[in-house]
Amino acid sequence: MRRPLDRPDYFAHIILILGVMLFAFPVWLVFAGSTQDPDAIMRGDLSLIPDLTNLSVYTRVLLHGTMGTEPVWHMLLISFGMAVAIATGKIFISVLSAYAVVFFRFPFRQTAFWLIFVTLMLPVEVRIIPTYAVMSGFALINTFTGLWVPLIASATATLLFRQVFTAIPDELLEAARIDGAGPLRFLRDIVLPVSGANIAALFVILFVYGWNQYLWPLLVSTDPSLDTIVIGIVKMIGQETQTDWSAVMATAVLALLPPVAVVVLMQRWFVAGLTEGEK
């Protein structure tokens, strides 16, 4: 049975709309809830139609701490700082190490690469306790540095850049050498601009990775002034009884916005970078 070309593929639309709703519904619910009376939410009278005249809850949570947490703007700032630091730091050290491995020959090159590579899939979750000990040794507990520095060492980005750099044609390097470019100049003038799309994609991935950290900040910081937004919101829902639900919901919306915005705005680069990097 052949579908005429001009008739829509209704079945595909139905499936996809269901899929879209599966993700959109909880977020919509939370947004709608954030604009409603907390007591009504407690009673279960939550309407799916947001009350757009009642957005003051957003300024309230942004500027003032609710339920004993830091104000949301502060937690957003910590999250943002952490995400940017992790993304930038990781890209920086990975570009350098991948560049060394790809464009030079030196003793123990393979060893160095393998030392980095082995850590590829060793997530922080499996080395909680010992890493904590190392962190206290460096006096990094309860510091902002402690939030991001240990997370920038990872093999994934190095591996990705190694792949990207290996794909740069030999002739390009040869032409640059004949033009008189040295290693650092070649990195700056040719390699970095040529890899711009990959760097942008990786930045998105790492920004989201940094923003979404939960266990790590939970572990290295007990100082509320270093709470990220993710830590903060989990703290809020932990106290189920005396909860100001509309404030929690508003905070949830604010916690979601930045990484979602980054992903959506840079979608094209990010998707290409993700799929070509991991495979």
């Binding site: 044609p169 002739e171 390009l172 040869e174 032409a175 640059a176 050498r177 004949i178 033009d179 008189g180 470019a181 100049r185 003038d189 040719i190 601009p193 040529v194 711009g196």
Partner: protein, 354 residues
């Protein structure tokens, strides 16, 4: 502008000898084409001259200056790559200017040189474009322009036309030749295409398994190939080879296939290979009789492929002017004056004495 001298050059990668003993001298303004099958070492030779590889032994002297130990950028050379190797993120102007900037030329001087080269290559209108917005021929021109602006002592071409379609290749070939003549820059040109080699080179260097098989002008190579390899490499379709032996005091060859071919002059030897180009086989009465496999009309001429039963496994080719009616068998004579005689064992050419 300068001379180029290559002395005792050898290159091995691990245990593999890629180049075994190359000696070569180019006079100022000469264009030498290095030609050979893939893997013969021609690209390695070019890359050694460029300084992109270090020779195992030997010296490279450009304009009297020994550059063997120098970095590519210090050799005062320019190279045009097969895939052009344009910097994809830079405009045409920046691509040409990059090397000049690194050398610290002033802004005005760079602009002047780039404009001059662009005008010469007809790139004036394209200076602001990125490489991906250019056609293959235009990219090729930019690659040339990048070489020209540097005003180098030596041009190196690494199969620069292989990525172009046939028509454009012919056109660019002529352009490269005109440009090189006009600028008078000594050049090395690597190609696997024998037509390109014949038309472009002042001289050809035919490389075979890392050794120079012959170094001579195109016509010398065509008329007096130094061995069976060169003979088979140059000319299209390739030369036919027939086994035989020298008889009658070296003045004739008795082919294994039967016929006796008289030669011009006298040669010394025993078992030989007689080489004859397809256009030098003419229909005759009592020559070689071929069983025809295939007739290929090419328009102005026709190729007939055939075998001599029991003697040659591969087809012999015969070239006729004009059309040929369907044939089952064909009898041809070898034109004595065009026969090439090679030693059967070594494949080396045997010239006539006196």
């Amino acid at each position: 502008m300068a001379t180029l001298d290559i002395k005792g050059l050898r290159k091995s990668f691990g245990a593999t000898e890629v180049l075994r003993q190359i000696d070569l001298s180019l006079i100022d303004g000469e264009m030498l084409v290095i030609v050979g099958a893939s893997g013969c070492g021609k690209s390695t030779l070019l890359r050694l001259v460029a300084g992109l590889e270090q020779p195992t032994t030997g010296r490279i002297v450009i304009g009297g200056r020994d550059v063997t130990a120098l970095d590519p950028s210090e050799r005062d050379i320019a190279m045009v790559f097969q895939n052009y190797a344009l910097y994809p993120h830079m405009s045409v102007f920046d691509n040409m200017a990059y090397g000049l900037r690194i050398r610290g030329l002033s802004r005005g001087e760079i602009a002047r040189k780039v404009d001059e080269a662009a005008a010469m290559l007809g790139l004036d209108e394209l200076l602001a474009r990125k490489p991906r917005q250019l056609s293959g021929g235009q990219r090729q021109r930019v690659a040339m322009g990048r070489a020209i602006v540097r005003d180098p002592k030596l041009f190196l071409f690494d199969e620069p036309l292989s990525n172009l379609d046939a028509k454009l290749r012919v056109q660019m070939r002529a352009e490269i030749r005109k440009l090189q003549r006009r600028l008078g820059v000594t050049s090395l040109y690597v190609t696997h295409d024998q037509v390109e080699a014949m038309t472009l080179g002042d001289r050809l260097l035919i490389l075979h398994e890392g050794r120079p098989a012959q170094l001579a002008t195109p016509m010398e190579v065509f008329e007096c190939p130094a061995d069976t390899y060169v003979a088979g490499f140059v000319g299209s379709p390739t030369m036919n080879f027939l086994p035989g032996r020298l008889v009658q005091d070296g003045t004739a060859v008795l082919l294994d296939a039967g016929p006796l071919v008289p030669l011009l002059g006298r040669r010394i030897g025993g078992a030989v290979t007689l080489g004859i180009r397809p256009e030098h086989l003419t229909p005759g009465a009592q020559g070689l009789t071929l069983t025809v496999d295939l007739i290929e009309p090419l328009g102005s001429e026709t190729l007939v492929h055939g075998r001599i039963a029991g003697i040659t496994a591969e087809s012999l080719a015969v070239k006729f002017a004009g059309a040929v009616p369907p044939l089952e068998t064909l009898t041809v004579d070898v034109q004595s004056g065009h026969a090439h005689i090679f030693d059967a064992a070594s494949g080396k050419r045997i010239n006539s004495i006196g």
